[in-house]
């Protein structure tokens, strides 16, 4: 008994010896980390909002509701509104195929899905100019039929879709592969159709991963600069998205306007982070619960409850 008492020495002292680093080293390491955060994260965000409100709320608001900024907001929403759903459909299909089936060339497909990440966005934009520009492969045909792609809205949507292509798929592939195929196989033996398995089992299982992917995809779609800049043509009020509008306002000495629009994009990033945090928390929470219930019972209860939990 006496030995037990001696190990319960004063708690503060005990913590220190457990860490095993001197006070100085700890203060230094934590200080460096905080300084790093302050310089690279807090200061820029504070600058954006500080400059945006430097002349007060009135000019800030006036900059946000200026015609050209509203047009940029509309175009940005439209672009994200088209490219995100496209990438969701593609992402689910690709992830389903890659994680549930084995076939020849699978690793090639995974690499191809990642391709837009490995090329610079400027190249992504130039690809479309080379394809659809007046001297591009399809240029003459398009101009004959009076279809505008480059320097118009379709080009912006295409470039954005291309750049954000891997985001949903990558997220889902990781989640689906981690979760395995047990439930799907069970459903198959019970006679469920492929679509029913996707709709009632796989999608509910990966829904947080999907939401996470959509959020990331949306953030990138709204924030993309490089590729969009190449195909946009920079026509005010027609082909300027929010990031391009920031550049234009800045170049026109309208610093309040530029930072006001930048603050919108920063706010979008902050919202994205929050939703991402919630999604991550839900995933880990679910996993913990699932592991706990599997440890407690030999019979898994999850598939039944998750089937009932989904309303078609």
């Amino acid at each position: 008994m006496s030995g037990l008492v001696t190990t319960r020495a004063p708690s503060a002292h005990r913590r220190e010896t457990q860490v095993g680093e001197s006070l100085l080293v700890r203060v230094l390491l934590i200080g460096v980390a905080l300084l790093f955060l302050a310089i690279f994260l807090v200061a820029p965000i504070a600058t954006v909002f500080g400059s945006a409100f430097s002349k007060g709320v009135g000019p800030y608001w006036a900059a946000l509701v200026a015609d050209e900024t509203l047009d940029a907001i509309k175009l940005t929403l439209l672009t994200a509104g088209i490219s995100v759903p496209l990438n969701v459909v593609f992402g689910v299909a690709a992830a389903w195929l890659i994680s549930k089936y084995d076939f020849w060339g699978k690793s090639v497909l995974i690499t191809v899905v990642d391709l837009p990440f490995s090329v610079s966005p400027v190249i992504s934009g130039l690809i479309f100019v080379l394809l659809f520009g007046a001297h591009g492969w399809f240029g003459p045909w398009l101009s004959e039929h009076d279809i505008k792609i480059i320097f118009a809205v379709p080009g912006i949507v295409m470039a954005t879709t291309f750049v954000t292509f891997p985001l949903v798929a990558r997220e889902l592939i990781a989640v689906m592969q981690a979760q395995g195929n047990d439930e799907e196989e069970a459903a198959l033996t019970l006679g469920a159709s492929g679509f029913a398995i996707l709709w009632r089992i796989t999608l509910p299982k990966v829904r947080w991963g999907l939401i996470y992917g959509v959020i990331l995809c949306n953030a990138r779609a709204m924030g993309e600069f490089g590729a969009v800049s190449v195909v946009s043509g920079h026509v005010r009020g027609l082909t300027n998205t929010l990031p391009l509008q920031v550049e234009i306002l800045y170049n026109e000495y309208n610093f309040v306007g530029a930072f006001a629009v930048a603050s919108l994009l920063s706010a979008l990033a902050l919202v994205t982070l929050c939703v991402k945090k919630v999604a991550e928390w839900s995933v880990s929470n679910r996993q913990a619960k699932r592991e706990a219930s599997q440890r407690a019972l030999s019979v898994p209860v999850r598939p039944a409850t998750s089937l009932e939990g989904v309303s078609p």
């Binding site: 509309k74 175009l75 929403l77 439209l78 509104g81 088209i82 759903p85 100019v129 520009g133 007046a134 001297h135 591009g136 240029g139 101009s143 009076d146 505008k148 480059i150 320097f151 118009a152 809205v153 043509g233 920079h234 026509v235 005010r236 009020g237 027609l238 234009i248 800045y250 170049n251 026109e252 000495y253």
Partner: protein
Amino acid sequence: MKIHKPLLIALTLLGAVTLRAEVELLNVSYDPTRELYSEYNKAFTTYWKGKTGEEISISDSHDGSGKQSRAIQDGAPADVATLALAYDIDAIYEKGGVNAAGAHLIPKDWQSRLPHNSSPYTSTIVFLVRKGNPKNIKDWADLTRDDVSVITPNPKTGGGARWNYLAAWGYALKKFGNDEAKAKDFVSRLYANVPVLDSGARGSTITFTERGIGDVFISWENEAYLALKEFGPEKFEIVVPSVSILAEPPVTVVDKVVDKRGTRKVAEAYLQYLYSDEGQDIAGRNYYRPRDGKAVAKYAKTFSKVNLFTIDEVFGGWQKAQKTHFADGGVFDKIYLARK
């Protein structure tokens, strides 16, 4: 049904963006004309409504002149091109391709279609220095000093940048009695003092004024005056060199685009109105040198007297200057590659 809703909204939005009823005009212009054309567009819209009753909306796009020329060649739907120098519009004729009927984007003789070589306003190249002129910069020769850092955009992409380069070259030819080798050496030493080459004039202005890089900014006269107006004369001052170049930024309608879109009439009127009293007055107010009418006398005091030479006198025209100096492998490439 749930799946179709976003699609429906997206299509509706797409319709809203692409279908605007009124006549639209797109002016693809170079970098520093943002303020000029944003004022002129309003004036012309009012004038056109009064004259014809027609509602029009005019959009403009700005970037380095060479880059904009390239965008028009690649199919940007510009009704009018208002660029920094004649070669960039020549390039639209030369490199813009031909359709099945053999027609170019614009005719070869585009420059003779409007008065004054199709340049409704002119400008020149001056220096912008920090207040009090701490490095005591007086003339082109000071820009080659070791202790002077010079800001100027990239002549491969910017229009003003090419005028800057040629103005320096013209000064050197004059100083060294038309010795080309000495002129090249002079310009090489000048570009060795340039820490950043932005793609257009406005980018360089921001580099010099906002980012505080460099001792002197070689600038369009209009851009220098605008910087004084935006940042206040207590921060910068303008230095006029002993000689400079007469810069003539030309304008043209893009025939293939206006004929296809049915906007020729309004596009031509848009350019002609630049020569009117109101158009000239707006140019003068935005620090471009007016060419005609009352505005010339009205703004005479604004601009300092500069000893100007033209590109035709010294370089034999834009075609020749472009091929010698700015084409791939030309003099500028050699200077810039050798500067380290």
